[in-house]
Amino acid sequence: MAHAGHCDDRGGTASNGLTGTGAGFMDWSSHCKRTVTVASYARSTNQPGKLLMKRRTLLAATVAAPFVAVEGSLGQSSKIQVVWWHAMTGANADEINRLARAFNESQSEAEVQPIFKGGYADTLTAAIAAWRADQAPHLVQIFEVGTGSMLAAGPATKQVWQLAKETGVDLDPAIYIPGVRGYYSLADGRLASRPFNSSTAVMWYNKDAFGAAGLDPEKAPATWSELIAAAQAIKGKIGTPAMGAVKFPVTSSWMIWVQLEQYSAIHDLPYATKANGFEGLDAELKFNGPQQVKQWDRLLGMAKQGLYEYGGRDTVPDALFYSGQAAIGFGSSAGRGDIVRNSKFKWAEALLPIDPEVNAHPINSIIGGASLWTMTTKQRTEAEYKAVAQFLKFIATPEQDAHFHQTTGYVPVTFAGYEKSKADGYYEKQPGTDVPIKQLARGTVTANSRGLRLGRLAEIRNILYEETEKALQGQQSGKQALDNGVSRGDRVLREFQKSVGG
């Protein structure tokens, strides 16, 4: 048992005969004190996710974590060490390690050390805590919604343009695909962080279920009315032997990202003022426009009729699709690996459905995923920054970019990586893998489709999840959910604006 202390006689009659069990007052008082330290704890250790660790573990972690992460490796070789924190698991983590190995073998001066830091939110928090303790890693992978926070981080980061200027290493932004580049650039086109794993939202569908419902398995629903018709056809056949494990017509991972943020982008609807926040910290949310309300009411209606299964937040519904329970699943294009590995049915990847009456000429969807930020510490040397710049240059070479794209399901971030994948014949061998690229490259980028640059966007997404969950239980309408999302989200934006002194 993980008790901090042993029994104290003040436990009164309760502790009679129990002095040996290790349960008692000390244990209890450590419960109390632990709660006090949350905020400062997040700063003082590198593992803030495990908030309520037992005291002993806490002690060990506080002492050990910074050293393991940054200094632990110094003694081992005379090479320059570059520490790279990332948030990838499974097949994607293997690819991160492969990239580091390939770089380490390609030259003899520097050594990149990838370290897994937990989920995206944990990694961001850990990076911030580490910087405040002057223990920041050289490179950190930050998800796209953290971009606003990182841009406001000033001296904590060294933006790509700055790094290129100081080290003399050529890091040309023009090699990156515009839809990806735009998300991580300043207003004047200078690159802030290095585009890394980028995905976009797509629709997956179960071809076997389409066949069983009498639909054409080769033709994905292209519009929302076709999607609803398909969902109804599937619902009519649920429970029949041909339909197998299918229990729900439609589900969606990342509901807010896919059904609201992407929906707004491809239909060229504003999500926030000031070009979705790109032009100023004083942006205000606009996602409660009439078209978005219609979209939300439609999803709520579909849920009520049993056509749409909510499933949960973020990636939780992924499993509903690849386990065969949902016939149509929206999600990130990066989910491809999991679907390949787990599904026991024929499936296809398709463009997001559109509403032709809202916009007959849909434009590009926006990216998700993450980018790499260079971080600073007081004692970091020029040679170290140079090694970082060389690593960033290395992973942007066509071979590395194409390999990363083909093994993970993320899109290639450079033109050359895309061309190389084409030349490799990858898209013929794996039909559908070019869907995300086509969707990202569709039409001309507008202020509404460049991306979202809002501080604390992850929190705004959570607010929308909360309001939507209330609406799904029938406690409020779609309009109320989005209206509440706007008013609560605006408060978060103002708080962020104040906190960064904007």
């Binding site: 309760a14 400062s40 604390r456 906190s499």
Partner: protein
């Protein structure tokens, strides 16, 4: 009876106490002071801009209806968890106190859940209650009961109460069992001779004699439910659906670690700290006095 160790000189006791004192200072008092300071400031995540905000963070907290709702939710949750885990533990302890075969094994088994990490306990409950794949959850769904704690406030609350109470039963069980065993047999014998039996004997003799144990456990359980359930709740529901299972400590984590709003999160920590100090004072006051008499 009071036992007292007498030290011949000053140095030795100071040296003996120093490690614990240092640990407390570095890991509890110092961070606590930092939390109090942070609660009075408004700062960005990186700490680049920090301005003194006075009591702004506290004013914003208590004028926020969502925070007030979270207080109410936490009080309800604490009461439900304490009541459920204590009554269940008492029930089990009364039966384990009897002369039954293999009771050592039986008692040991009852203590096991306490050794399970909160996240693992949550996974066990998910395996049981997940609407599609959970053994019990799928059974309920098949039998026409719309069980889905992802989308039902009451069911989500029920689930975290069950999981958190279950985890605390062992702890309460140990104390109740010890409490029962410390009741003098002679008193019970006398009651039996006077013809008090079964429920009547329990209600008039056993239960009153267990009162100090019960009170101690009540405070411990309230504190447990308020603070130590974070791991279980985070793993089960992350505070959702909506805000249905967002207790105060989950909110501290949400605002501080996920949303990086250090000022508000620190203010919430300070509010919690005051709550704990209150409960502790209550405990010491009552149990301390009881022992003096």
């Amino acid at each position: 009876m009071e036992r007292r160790t007498i030290f011949g000189q000053r140095l030795l006791p100071v040296v003996l106490v120093a490690p614990q004192f240092l640990l407390t200072l570095i890991f509890f008092l110092w961070p606590a002071c930092q939390a109090i300071w942070s609660s009075l400031t408004r700062q960005d995540p990186f700490g680049l801009h920090s301005q003194f905000a006075g009591l702004d963070n506290f004013v914003e907290l208590f004028t926020d209806p969502l925070y007030r709702a979270s207080i109410g939710r936490t009080v309800f949750f604490m009461a439900a968890v304490s009541a459920l885990s204590m009554s269940l533990a008492l029930f089990l302890a009364v039966f384990a106190d009897r002369e039954i075969r293999g009771r050592t094994i039986y008692r040991t088994l009852l203590i096991w859940p306490y050794a399970i990490a909160p996240a693992m306990a949550a996974v066990l409950w998910i395996v049981l209650l997940q609407p599609q794949v959970g053994i019990l959850g799928a059974w309920l769904s098949r039998h026409g009961i719309a069980w889905d704690y992802h989308l039902n406030d009451a069911q989500a609350m029920l689930m975290i109460v069950l999981a958190c109470a279950w985890k605390q039963v062992s702890y309460n069980f140990i104390f109740f069992l010890a409490g029962l065993q410390s009741i003098p047999r002679t008193v019970l014998e006398a009651a039996r001779m006077d013809g008090a039996r079964g429920w009547h004997r329990f209600r008039t003799i056993t239960f009153p004699l267990l009162a100090p144990t019960s009170f101690f456990l009540l405070v411990v359980n309230l504190v447990y439910a308020a603070f130590d359930t974070f791991g279980t709740i985070q793993a089960l529901t992350q505070g959702g659906p909506g805000k249905a299972t967002e207790t105060l400590v989950v909110k501290v984590y949400r605002d501080g670690v996920v949303n990086l709003d250090i000022g508000s999160s620190s203010a919430q920590s300070v509010v919690l700290m005051i709550g704990v100090i209150g409960l502790t004072a209550l405990q010491f006051r009552f149990l301390g006095r009881r022992q003096l008499t």
